[in-house]
């Protein structure tokens, strides 16, 4: 059962980052769909079932925090991982399940995402 492919929605306004990050996640065995903005991501979520959202924190029109808040309104159990290159955690409250630094590197990114996915799947199967 854990062998099934998870679907990850990857959100970032920088196309190169988005592209290579998606490839890394695919290499780790996931299926990846992408969105280049928060509103784009919300639109996708309404039509496509997704197991996890990986979003950048700083984006021009809708920040990762706003996006997460919106996602949690419509899909309270959908795990969201926030991803950032800034020094410190945002001061305002955010509802993401995990906060990661971009410099942790692809390996740690994949490990942490796998952890979150398994935790949420376990929660889904053992309500």
């Amino acid at each position: 059962m854990s062998e099934r492919k998870f679907v990850i929605l990857c959100v970032d306004d920088e196309p190169v980052s988005l592209l290579v990050r998606s490839r890394v996640l695919e290499k780790a065995g996931h299926e990846v769909i992408t969105a280049s903005s928060g509103s784009d991501a919300l639109k996708t979520l309404r039509s496509t079932p997704v197991d996890l959202v990986l979003t950048d924190l700083l984006m021009p029109t809708m920040t990762g925090i706003e996006l997460t808040r919106n996602i949690k309104k419509e899909h309270p159990s959908l795990p969201v991982v926030m991803f950032s290159g800034v020094n410190e955690l945002p001061q305002e409250e955010f509802h993401a399940d995990l906060f990661l630094s971009k410099l942790e590197g692809p390996q740690i990114l994949c490990e942490k995402i796998a952890e979150v996915l398994h935790r949420s799947e376990y929660a889904r199967n053992h309500p």
Partner: protein, 542 residues
């Protein structure tokens, strides 16, 4: 039989007006008291003594005479022996009883009997004389005049004495005040002669330099203080000779070898009235102020760099992540031949070094959102355990002096980073073994009275040169040449400052080696008890 009391009651009652009043008393004119029950005799004495420059006070009885004596300063009492009531001898008895009047001259007028002369001898203690009747006016005038003069001289002498005593008291007080003022001054006040020999040294100088008065009086001032002048000494001397003054900063050394910078004012007091010329020096300790200004400048510089670093971090991290990911994708890529795969591996290694630097300097992020109670001793124990193998292999002994288990509110990861840095640095400084001492103690800030803690990490390693200490906390400064990035302490300082804390370093070398001590001060801590109550509080909340 005769107490003073019966007359005492009458002092204040209105009396027959006295011939003198208070204001005349104070003048040079002396008072002569004439006592006789016969008004005619009083008048005749008055006539005879009128020429003397004196106030004549008349009393018609012994009682009245005593009253005048108590009121006025009487030089001579001229008393008739035979009077009704208190006679002349009784009056004399009573006068002598009073300490104030023991030296008052008494002149009896009497038809003298042999027995009278014997009685008069009984009064020899004071000035006593007698005149027999009939009175020869010249003799009376002469005798009274001598006594009056005697009294006047004595009074003048007493006044002079009192005046002298007062002046001595005043002057002593003035000198004492001046000395107190000199000692009150926190400045070091010194006087030296033209050859540099110390003549005066106040307590401010004792405090500043640690040398006592006894140590330095007679010694050469600038030899004792190892003074370093900002300009050639000859310039200072010529300025003193020309203008009488010089001002400037001097670097000097205290008794315990501490370097101090003082703002010094010198003034030349020329030779005068036989007194040799001297140089007055007043020095104020500027060390702390200069250090504080320096620290402020540095902090501002670091803060500015921190802001720049933050911006750079943000701009760098995004492409860096992309490149990291690209290398990850390239790893084991089928299209790469062996040579290309090697280059890729090398490039990825180099990239990881860049990432390491960026991560540990520009973009350390906090691992949890809310600060928690962190036990510093636990953090230290943890690091020491991790490092225990290295420490053991290098022959480094560890001394833990954990004098408090207080905690601080913060983020364990970054606090760990601070102490990890310090402990690893200490280890690097002792390649051939040594001692590592870690002390944690409570500390009350002397200014803010905040209760905090101080952690020191001391080693007996290679030591740090004085000129390097200032630069230690600057970015990219390292004494470990290729080994270090020069960022560890800079980052540590940044972290400690977020806690309103401070980090400082002292390194001293002595005969057998060096001791280097890094001290981290956190101004606030919370006690264990407070944590428990906080926990109880948040448990209630949730």
């Amino acid at each position: 039989m005769m107490s003073m009391n019966p007359i005492g009651g009458r002092w204040k009652s209105p009396m027959e007006p006295a011939k003198s009043n208070g204001s005349e008393d104070t003048n040079d004119r002396v008072n002569i008291l004439l006592v006789d029950d016969q008004p005619a005799k009083l008048l005749s004495y008055e006539a005879i003594l009128g020429d003397l420059d004196a106030n004549l006070i008349k009393a018609s009885s012994g009682t009245e005479a005593l009253e005048h004596l108590l009121k006025h300063d009487i030089a001579v009492v001229l008393a008739d022996v035979s009077m009704p009531g208190i006679d002349g001898f009784q009056l004399a008895d009573m006068i002598r009883e009073h300490p104030r009047f023991q030296k008052t001259a008494i002149l009896f007028i009497s038809a003298i009997h042999l027995s009278d002369i014997d009685r008069i001898k009984g009064y020899q203690r004071g000035a006593v004389d007698y005149l027999s009747v009939p009175i020869v006016p010249e003799v009376l005038r002469a005798k009274v005049g001598v006594f009056a003069e005697l009294h006047r001289s004595r009074r003048a002498l007493e006044a002079l004495n009192r005046n002298l005593e007062q002046r001595v008291t005043d002057r002593t007080e003035e000198l004492r005040e001046r000395a107190d003022l000199l000692d009150l001054a926190s400045e070091a006040i010194m006087v030296r002669d033209m050859n540099g020999v110390v003549l005066f040294w106040n307590s401010g100088a004792e405090t500043l330099y640690g040398w006592t008065r006894e140590d330095v009086i007679g010694q050469d001032l600038h030899t004792i203080l190892s003074t370093r002048f900002p300009v050639p000494v000859s310039d200072i001397e010529s300025s003193l000779l020309k203008t009488g003054r010089w001002e400037g900063n001097l670097v000097q050394f205290t008794r315990d070898g501490r370097e101090v910078t003082v703002a010094c004012r010198k003034a030349l007091r020329n030779e005068r009235a036989g007194a040799p010329g001297v140089i007055l020096e007043i020095s104020r300790d500027m060390t702390e102020r200069l250090r504080a200004e320096d620290a402020l400048r540095n902090a501002e510089k670091l803060a500015a760099m921190g802001r720049v670093a933050g911006i750079i971090a943000h701009e760098i991290n995004n492409p860096l992540e992309a490149i990291l990911n690209i290398f990850h994708l390239l790893r084991g890529h089928v299209a790469l031949n062996e040579e290309a795969a090697d280059y890729t591996r090398l490039a990825e290694q180099e990239l990881l070094r860049v990432v390491h630097i960026v991560k540990h300097t520009l973009s350390f992020y906090r691992e949890s959102q809310q600060p928690v109670a962190v036990s510093i001793t636990e953090v230290l124990d943890n690091i020491l355990e991790l490092q225990s193998r290295t420490l053991h292999l290098q022959g480094i002994s560890i001394e833990r002096r954990f004098l408090t288990d207080a905690t601080i509110q913060g983020f364990p990861g970054e606090l760990r980073q601070v102490f990890m840095n310090l402990i690893v640095n200490a280890t690097h400084a002792m390649p051939d073994g040594g001692r590592l001492r870690i002390t944690v103690r409570r500390r009350v800030d002397p200014k803010t009275h905040l209760r905090g803690m101080a952690v020191s990490v001391c080693d007996t390693g290679t030591g740090i040169k004085r000129e390097h200490i200032r630069q230690l906390f600057e970015p990219f400064f390292s004494t470990k040449s290729a080994k270090g990035t020069g960022l560890g302490l800079w980052v540590s300082k940044g972290i400690v400052q977020k806690y309103d804390g401070a980090i400082e370093c002292r390194s001293i070398s002595y005969r057998d080696g060096n001791a280097t001590c890094f001290r981290v001060v956190f101004p606030r801590h919370i006690s264990m008890r407070q944590i428990h109550s906080d926990a109880a509080y948040s448990a209630q909340e949730s």
